[in-house]
Amino acid sequence: MSANTMETSTSTAAATAIVAGGERTSWKDVVFSPRYGGLAALLLVVLATPLFIDGVYQFDMAILVMINAAVVIALNLLVGYAGQVSLGHAAFFGLGGYATAILTTRYEWPSLLALGAGVVLVVAIAAVIARPILRLKGYYLAMATLGLGMIIYLIITQESWLTGGPDGTSVAPLEVYGYAVYDEIVWYWLLAALVVVMYWLALNIIDSPVGRALRALHGSEIAADNSGIDVNHYKTVVFVLSAGVAALMGGLYAFYSGFIAPSTAGFMHSIELVVMVVLGGMASLVGSVVGAVLMTLLPQYLVVLSEYEWLVYGLVLMLVMIFMPRGLVPTLHGLIRRVTG
């Protein structure tokens, strides 16, 4: 009742408000928006990269970058947008990979069915643990996800009869309708399409009421709750979603590399994923891709420094965090906005 009267009485004020608060989009907003500029840049890079790279090694790098990028895009929804830290996401990646590996080689399931089963398994696990674990905040949540990752890692290394233990296990190639995918170039285009789709879907979530609810979890849970947002529900949704994507990419990784080892589910890999989010930029989709590119390629190029590799690597991370605490992409974006007015 009150709602209707409010509507009518404020509608006179509305005319002026729409003029005052209407969309003022300049070419800059379009170029720097993740939806137009970001998506166009991503498409361009993905399409152009094969022209500049050559050989198995370089394609291998590009493929690893894209696997990481897809995981990090989803992880950024959880960590960057919703503000819920997870130091255990590699475990979901690893579980997806192992489930795929075991089901295809041991039980001879068809590739896609095994991949799907891995995702379903991880989604189920994530959904079950989400409620209790996401009640925790900040450091406590970080600790709990760390513990979860360790448990899964331990199970993978200990249950040798199933997983091959510390030695890892080999994986049958991805086979779709009787066609086995071996070729790096096929893998490249497959993953490129996946990353672009993933970017687009993540963008849609962010630009929706769901995305606003997720950002509100980061901004003020009290405000979100009071606005009728079921905080636990949204935390669960984004946690399960990001875990599911990690599992999917883990499965594809297993198919691609033909082999999976426990380190894929390990603590260091979890940290790497979070560092990609933070380095590229929290709550920045373009940042997720940039973070994945840098963190995947940097160690490869720093190999020439031999024993100083990790020193330089650590130094780069420290410097970025000191001078660009918001991450590369948001900081640079802010800088460009200030310079161009």
Partner: protein, 253 residues
Amino acid sequence: MSMLRIESLTKQFGGLRAIEDLSFDVREGEVHSVIGPNGAGKTTLFNLITGVYQPTSGRVLLDGQDLSGKAVHQRSALGMSRTFQNLQLCLNMTARENVMLGGHLGLPGSLFSSLLRLPHLTRADRRCRARAAELMDYVGLGDYVDRDTTAMPYGALKRLEIARALAANPKLLLLDEPAAGLNANETAAIEHLIRGLCQEGVTVILVEHDMKLVMNISAHIVALNYGQKLAEGTAQEIRNHPEVIAAYLGAAA
């Protein structure tokens, strides 16, 4: 008709009774104020009404419906909205997005339609955007619509919280010290705003220390002290109540 009924409500924290056997009714379309010294239990009362806390005993009824056991977001869905004494805004969002957050319940919230950006969703969201700008204009924040929340002064943020609360189309609006930290002009603007809301049928519960504001706009006042009801009545009755004067207002008031 009473819209909100507080029925022998008690909230105990360890050995402390923050609210003790409190009962009162809030009538529809009126401003109902809760006053009392710091620590009297005013914010605790708000937290009990909105579901942040569950009471030790007693209950809260909205339009005759018992709210016991209902979570904050469920009570919001029943038409309750509040603002906070210490601001609760999302500083990672623009001013307009904060207001749009208040309109969340009126939007399609499924993940599927969000993922695919289905037309009914984008249409509803666009309406929500436009309405957020209207509401910001209504509370006097027309100049801040697409500003970052971090770039706004304190007084504007207080009103932004009101705009967000209004975006939910509440029938009951709880304002926790909306005039705290505001100057005389800003307080007058808040008073005008609350009056306007009441005329449109919104029921308001107000916690406020600015006695001029409280006395001016309240149809009904409850005075609390140590969690208990000290007195209840019209502004005139409260102003002249000896116990309220002794505990809170002081001789000068």
